[in-house]
Symmetry: C2
Subunit: 129 residues, 2 copies
DNA sequence: AAATAAATGTAAGGATTCCTAACATTTATT
DNA sequence: AATAAATGTTAGGAATCCTTACATTTATTT
């Protein structure tokens, strides 16, 4: 339990995360804009990223490289949060039904391969122990 | 081996390290001035601290709270680096002989107690796994 | 193929964080 | 009391990051 706390501690500034993930500031901010990450902020409004944030960014990058778009990635994350059960159309809100689900399925289908393994392609935290 | 690499990665800016250690910027810079830590620098000359740096700072703080002065802490660190063998007066340079050794010994003597355990009193890295 | 949308680049202006240097203060040692 | 050690405080300047807006590239849709 304290583990999640630690992994969520706001620690890294933008510059470091850019190096760690090899993403541009623009990309990182755009992903935040799209609710894929929610880094903390300093008193002066600067982003402070946690291990979990960095992990997420690495995963986002990996999925993007596999051709999944941001909407798809959002789905993946939501699925994970809801406990791995894929969303049923019945529970969907407004804009879709099976479409999005199928779309995602299709996207993920041809993605069952290896990531680029740019350096770390999973959990950054596991990198530090 | 890659472990040491990771623990030496420059990751944290001054502000975060201040929070993590509850030390002032002045203190941290002063300890660097006295060769107790050697944080990396960004291209723009900003300090970037590693896990090892933070660990060291926490240890410095703990030793200071136990009454050890900076010279004593320097000795402790040197001893550790040289493989735990306490320095023999014979090998000392110029300014001292048994004095410093005794001084240190005396300092450490009344210090065989518990630290304040401000939050983390050992290895920060162990905090993240 | 043209239009639209998604993802990223780039630039400007401003705010925050950090830097060094210098001097002041507090605490301990001589 | 004088000196030294450790820390505080302030000033001026530089680096990093912020948001906003517009441009470009790439993919999708009509």
């Amino acid at each position: 339990m304290g583990d999640q706390v630690r992994r969520n501690m706001p620690l890294f500034p933008m510059g470091i995360v850019m190096q760690l993930t090899e993403l541009s500031a623009r990309q990182i901010r755009y992903y935040e804009e799209n609710k894929l990450i929610t880094p903390a902020r300093s008193e002066g409004n600067r982003r402070l990223f946690s291990f979990n944030d960095v992990d997420r960014l690495l995963e986002i990058k990996s999925l993007l490289e596999r051709g999944v778009n941001l909407a798809g990635i959002r789905e993946v994350f939501e699925m994970r949060e809801r406990g791995m059960q894929p969303l049923h159309p019945y529970y969907r809100k407004e804009p879709t039904e099976a479409e999005l689900h199928n779309h995602l399925k299709k996207e993920l289908y041809q993605a069952g391969r290896y990531g680029k393994a740019s350096l770390i392609q999973g959990e950054l935290s596991r990198f530090f122990n």
